[in-house]
């Protein structure tokens, strides 16, 4: 019944286009927006599976307070996607449950 969880680019912002890599696909983003915003615009419908019961979660507050948008960004796990701006070539992945202890910078 319902369509995909996605946001449209209703207002044109004249910032540069950048490409970021999300789980083996390349997606388009606009400079100056956060990873979370870019994912919403690309219809990526969840950002993590919880370490407690494996539930899917997606950006909720967009201001860094709910921690639902935890993702792996350039190999650093559990970063808040709504607090980090996109950069050309950035590699972003979902978190599936708890992080690995030796993933690091």
């Amino acid at each position: 019944m319902a369509s995909v969880f996605r946001f449209s680019r209703s207002i044109n912002r004249d910032t540069r286009l950048v490409s970021i890599q999300f789980e083996n696909q390349v997606i388009e983003a606009r400079e100056g927006e956060t990873i979370a915003a870019a994912l919403l615009a690309n219809g990526i419908d969840f950002t993590r599976k919880t370490p407690v019961n494996g539930q899917a979660r997606a950006p909720f507050c967009m201001v860094g307070t709910c921690f639902e948008c935890l993702m792996e960004v350039d190999q650093i796990p559990n970063l808040q996607a709504c607090m980090i701006e996109v950069q050309e070539g950035m590699v972003v992945g979902r978190m599936y449950g708890p992080r690995n202890p030796d993933d690091d910078t």
């Binding site: 370490p51 407690v52 650093i76 559990n78 449950g97 708890p98 992080r99 690995n100 202890p101 030796d102 993933d103 690091d104 910078t105």
Partner: protein, 364 residues
């Protein structure tokens, strides 16, 4: 409110004693303070720890060893009756040494304890390269560590919840939000008050740091002092740490818990950034991969310390029927408190060498 036994204090000690008494058929009520009270039980590290315990009092080493061996059955029983998993694991534990001095001291202390005992006291010192085989993630700053196969850990919060659940389903009563400020002996028992009036034939003081004042009311000398411990907890990670240690353990749900300082700062349970920073540095030296983990919370709790660090178990001479039970290691000793000590309080039989733990040792 009336009952045969009133337990003052609903921390891990109080509820262990209450549960044990209820289990042998006594009628018990637990009286506890409100939400913001100083609580060692809710801020502690969760170790079931044998290594190093009892330096200077062999009876305490024996007592601790016995509790550690009672733990598996104790946990099984609670898990069966409540369905709450306690996450007990006793794979042995390591005390890491970051310098040769630390290593020498640790070995000297453990050898001293072993020599004072007639029973088997297993431990070994393992150097870095060998230790690496047990726990490959340690860093180069670790000189070695002492390993004791009897050590382990448990989820102290689930333990508390399981004891409360089972105690109440066996008919035990909990009076919450009441701070007992008066205890008076009357002909057949004790009248307790603190906003409400309660009566019990016997009273057991398990009020942690509150025991000092309450003890005076029933002729018991309980010279306990607060000792602050700061702890931090990091985000959940996939299980990797095989052995708990005094400073670091990975808890059941995957979070890594790091502690703990020992500070004499009175009734101050705030954390301080300097101490937390120092704890973090030591932890990273032991397990360098921890440096990338995020700390979710830090907290501090007050240990309940007697002058020599050993428990106080005593019945009042002046007011028979009034008991005090206090100790620092309430998690480790939960099994023996619940299963053995309650037999003495309940009037069934007295464990050997109980006098070693009398508070009279401080009155000389």
């Amino acid at each position: 409110m009336e009952s045969e036994f009133a337990i003052v204090g609903g921390g891990i000690l109080g509820i262990s004693i209450a549960w044990g008494l209820q289990r042998i058929g006594r009628d018990v009520m637990v009286i506890d303070e409100g939400d913001f009270a100083f609580r060692a039980s809710r801020g502690n590290f969760g170790l079931v720890w044998v290594q190093g315990k009892g330096d200077g009092l062999p009876d305490y080493t024996r007592w601790t060893l016995r509790s550690a061996s009672l733990w598996p059955d104790f946990a099984d029983e609670l898990e069966d009756t409540t369905g709450i998993k306690l996450e007990l694991s006793q794979p042995g534990g390591i005390d890491f040494c970051l310098s040769n001095d630390e290593a020498e001291n640790a070995v000297a202390r453990l050898s001293g304890i072993r020599d004072s005992l007639s029973i088997d006291y297993p431990f070994e010192y393992i150097e870095n390269t060998e230790l690496r085989k047990l726990t490959p993630e340690i860093g180069p700053d670790v000189v070695g560590g002492t390993y004791c196969p009897k050590d382990g850990h448990v989820n102290p919060l689930y333990l508390l919840r399981a004891l409360y659940t089972d105690f109440q389903s066996r008919g035990g009563r909990v009076v919450n939000g009441v701070s007992v400020d008066k205890i008076k002996q009357e002909n057949s028992g004790f009248r307790l008050s603190g906003g409400v009036e309660m009566f019990a034939q016997k009273v057991v003081l398990c009020a942690g740091l509150g025991n000092r004042k309450l003890g005076e009311m029933v002729g018991l000398n309980v010279p306990v002092e607060p000792n602050r411990g700061q702890i931090m907890i990091c985000e959940r990670v996939i299980p990797f740490m095989r052995y708990p240690s005094v400073q670091i353990r990975q808890v059941g749900e995957g979070a890594v818990q790091i502690g703990d300082s020992k500070e004499n700062v009175g009734f101050d349970d705030r954390t301080s950034p300097e101490v937390i920073s120092r704890i973090a540095r030591r932890a990273i030296k032991i397990y360098p991969l921890l440096s990338h983990l995020r700390t979710i919370r830090t907290w501090a709790a007050l240990r309940v310390m007697s002058p020599d660090g050993f428990p106080i178990y005593q019945q009042s001479d002046a007011h028979p029927g009034a008991y005090v039970v206090t100790c620092h290691s309430g998690i480790t000793l939960a099994a023996i408190h619940a299963l053995v000590l309650t037999r003495w309080i309940g009037g069934e039989d007295q464990p050997k060498n109980l006098e070693s733990f009398s508070g009279k040792r401080f009155s000389i």
